[in-house]
Symmetry: D2
Subunit: 246 residues, 4 copies
C-alpha cells in the first residue's frame, strides 16, 4: 500500500512489477483513479484520502481491505512544500497557518497513517496462525531539508525533521511487528522537484548531474522493503548533494 504522488506512483509501479498489490491513499482523485484503472487488479483506489484525517484514512483502509485483503505495509509519499521566510521583507512575521498546514499534512498526516496502518497490521499478526519473521513495513518520506533546510524552509524542514525524529521511536514501539524507515530525497523530477530553478540545480548537483528519477526513489523503497535488517534508519538519496548557502 502506498500513498500517492509522482514518487508514490513510481513506487506503486515498482511494487506491482514485483508482484505486489497496492492501495492508493491520495487526496488527488484524478491521478489515483487513472493509475488504479491502468493497473487494475494490482492497484486499488478507495477514493480520495486526506492523510491527516482519522475518518478519511480509516474509511480508505476499510475499503482497501474489502477490495484487496489485509495490508502489510505503507510508503508515505504524500506531502506538500512551501517556501516562506520566517519574517517577510515587509517586516511581517510568516502567518502561523502556513506553518500549521505544512506540519498538519507532512508530519501529523504521516503519523496518522502510521498509527492506523500499524494497528491494522498488528491486529492481523495477532489473528494469524503462523508467525512471520518480518510481518510489516512502514516507509516514511522526509527530505534532505530535514537537516539542511534552505532559507524559506522552516516549515518544511520542521515537518520533515519531525518525520525523521519519529523514525527510531516508532521502530522501537513496533519492534517484532513492523519495521520503520525514512527516505530523505534530494532534488527529484516531480512537480515538486521541477519547480526548482535550473540555476539552483547547477549550484547543488554533483553526480549524477541531473534530478533524481522517481524510479530511483522506488528502487530504494523496494530495497528497504526486501531487506529485513534495515530498520530505524533515515536514508538520503540525493546524488551527494549537500544544501549549502543559496
Amino acid at each position: 500500500m502506498s500513498a500517492g504522488g509522482v514518487q508514490g506512483e513510481a513506487t506503486i509501479r515498482a511494487i506491482v512489477e514485483k508482484g505486489g498489490k497496492v492501495i492508493i491513499f491520495d487526496i488527488n482523485e484524478e491521478r489515483g483513479q487513472a493509475i488504479a484503472k491502468e493497473l487494475a487488479g494490482s492497484v486499488f483506489w478507495p477514493g480520495a484520502t486526506d492523510v491527516a484525517s482519522e475518518d478519511s484514512v480509516l474509511a480508505s483502509i476499510e475499503k482497501g481491505v474489502k477490495g484487496f485483503g489485509n495490508i502489510s505495509g505503507v510508503v508515505n509519499c504524500g506531502g506538500i512544500g512551501m517556501a516562506q521566510k520566517i519574517v517577510f521583507r515587509n517586516g511581517e512575521p510568516q502567518p502561523l497557518n502556513i506553518f500549521e498546514e505544512v506540519v498538519r499534512v507532512n508530519l501529523i498526516g504521516t503519523f496518522n497513517v502510521c498509527r492506523l496502518i500499524a494497528a491494522h497490521i498488528i491486529a492481523n499478526i495477532k489473528a494469524s496462525a503462523e508467525k512471520e519473521e518480518d510481518p510489516g513495513i512502514i516507509i516514511n518520506v522526509a527530505s534532505i531539508a530535514y537537516t539542511e533546510g534552505q532559507a524559506g524552509q522552516s516549515a518544511y524542514s520542521a515537518s520533515k525533521g519531525g518525520v525523521a525524529g519519529m523514525t527510531l521511536p516508532m521502530a522501537r514501539d513496533l519492534a517484532g511487528q513492523i519495521r520503520v524507515c525514512t527516505i530523505a530525497p534530494g532534488f527529484f523530477g516531480t512537480p515538486m522537484g521541477n519547480a526548482l530553478k535550473e540555476s539552483i540545480l547547477e549550484k547543488h548537483m554533483i553526480h549524477p548531474y541531473r534530478m533524481g528519477k522517481p524510479s530511483e526513489f522506488a528502487h530504494l523503497a523496494c530495497a528497504i522493503i526486501e531487506n529485513p535488517m534495515i530498520n530505524g534508519e533515515i536514508i538520503r538519496i540525493d546524488g551527494a548533494v549537500r544544501l549549502g548557502k543559496l
Copy 2:
C-alpha cells in the same frame, strides 16, 4: 527574555546575574509570578502566555516591551512531554490528539514565539541608528530524543525533531539579524526529568553519573548567547548519554 520552566528559571537567573533583563513567557501563572517578584526590576511577568497562541504571545510581547523595553532574544524553554506507544497493548492506535497536542506546544509553539519575536527584533534593528554586529539571538530547546527517541516517544521525538530541523533554515532566513541555535538536553533534574525512574538513569548515565542541573543548561545557554560564531547548531548537553534500548 526567556520562556519558563525549571530550566527556563535557571536560565533567567543566569541572565540576570550577568546583568540582563528577562520577560517570562509561561502558561504557569504561579511560578512565573514568584520569580518576577523575587527578581523584580530584572524580571517581568506579563501574565500567563500560551506559546502556541498568536494573540497570547503578541499580548505578552507588548506588555513586556512596555515594561522593560525592546527584546533582543529568546530562550524557548516551554514544552510538554508525553509517553505513549504508537499502538497500545490492547491494539488501539494512539489517539491522534495526543500527538497533535505535543506538536502544538513543542513545535508550533516554538515556531510561533520565534516568528513573532524575530519580527519584533528586526523592526528594532531597522529603527535603530547604529548597526550592531550581533543584534538578536533565538535559542530553542529540543531533546536528545530528537534523534534517539525511546519507545513511547514518537510524538515527543517528532516535535523535537521538528525543532532541530528548523534550526538551520531559520538561521539562514534571519542571517545578518538573529542567530538561531538549539540545545538538546539529556536527562535533567526538573519535574520532567525527575519523573524518570532511577533504574533508567542507571541504565543510561555515563559521566557525570547524575542528572543534569538546570544551572548547567543555563551555563550553556549563556555561552551560546555570548559567542557570535555559534549559529545554526544543535548542541547536546547530556553527559555522554546515548539512548539505547530500554
Copy 3:
C-alpha cells in the same frame, strides 16, 4: 570486485548471482582461494593482498585485470576489530601501535584501495569511446561504531569515523566518474560479529531480534550498486540498534 571477509563473501555471491564478475582482495589466502575455486569463471583470486600496501594492491589489480578485464567498482570489506580501553586498569596508556594498526588497515587500507581503483577506473573511462552515465562505484564499510562507539572502541571508531568522513569528499572528487557510499553495519553474524557475547545482543537488538546475515549486507550493497542516485551517503544496516551504555 570485492575485498574479502564473511560479508565480502556474501557480497561476492550476490554479485555473481546477478551475473557480475569479482576479483578478491584479501590477506587470507585460504578463504579467498576456496571461493575462487568454487565460483571459477566468475571469481578471480590474484593471491593474498594487503589493502594497506601500495605494491600489493597494485599487483593484485594488475593480475585481476589480466585475468578478468577492467574493474568497475569495489566493495571494501576488509577490516580488523580491536577492543582496548584508552587507559588500562593498571593505569598504563593503550600502546600506540594498537591504534596505529587498526587505523592502518581500516582507514589507510580503505583509502589506498579507493585511490588505486579510482585511478584505474578513470583511466578506462578516458580510454573508452562511449560515455556511460554511471561508470564506477566504490562502497566502503564503516560500522555503527563510527558514531556510537562503545567503551574500548576508540581505535575502531576512529578508523570507521575516518571512513565515514571521507565518503563525501571522495564522492565530490570523483563526481562524473565514480559514486562513493559507505555501509555502516550493526551486529552481523560473522567471525567478528559472533565474538560478541549473547548478553550484549540481548541488550541491544530490537528488530529483527538476531544478528544481521551477510546476505542482508550483500543485498544492501547490490541495492546501492544498482541505484545511480545514491551517492555520498552513509547507510546503517543494524535492525534499529543504537549503541547505548554497556
Copy 4:
C-alpha cells in the same frame, strides 16, 4: 594545558585570563617560546613537541609537570591541512604518504596526546585524597569537514572524521575521570583559515559574515571546560556554514 596554533594561542590566553596555567605542546619552537615568554608564570614551554611521537609527548609532559605541577586537561589544537584530489588531473592517484601524514598528525597525534595525558590524569586522581566531581577534561579539534568535506579533502576529512568518531568511546572509557569533547570549527581567521580564497568565504558564510575569531573558539573551549554536563559531544562553531558544492 593546550597544544599550539592560532586557535591554541587564543585558548591559552583565555585560560590564563581565567587564572589557569598552561603547558604548550607544539612543534613550532618560535611561537611557543614567544607566548611562554610573554605570559611567563602562567604558560610553560617544554620545548618542541611532536604530538604523534610517544617519546616527544612523554618528555614534554614530564618537563611540564616538573615546571608547573600536575595537568588536568588538554585542548588538542595541533593539526595540519592538505588539499589534494584523490586522483590528480593527470590520472595519477594521490600518493599514499600525503594521506598517511595528515592521518598521522591529526588523528594518531590527537589520540597519542589523549592516551598519555589521560593516563597522567588518572594516576593523579588515584593518588589524590579527595575525590573531585569533574577531575579532567580533553577537548579535541575536528573541523566541519569531518562530515561535509569538500573536494580535495579526503585526507583531512578522514583524519577529522576519526577524531569525531573516537569522541564518544573515549568519553565512555574515561567515564568518572575525564570528559571528552570535540570542537568542529568552520572557517577561522588563522594561517590555515586565511589561506581560503575570499570568493569561497562569500560562497559559504551566512552569519556572521566573516571568518571566526580565535577568541571565539577559545570562548567555546572555556564554556566546555566549565560545564561538567557537556561530555561526548561534537560542537560545530561555524556561523551556520554548511559546506555545499564548491
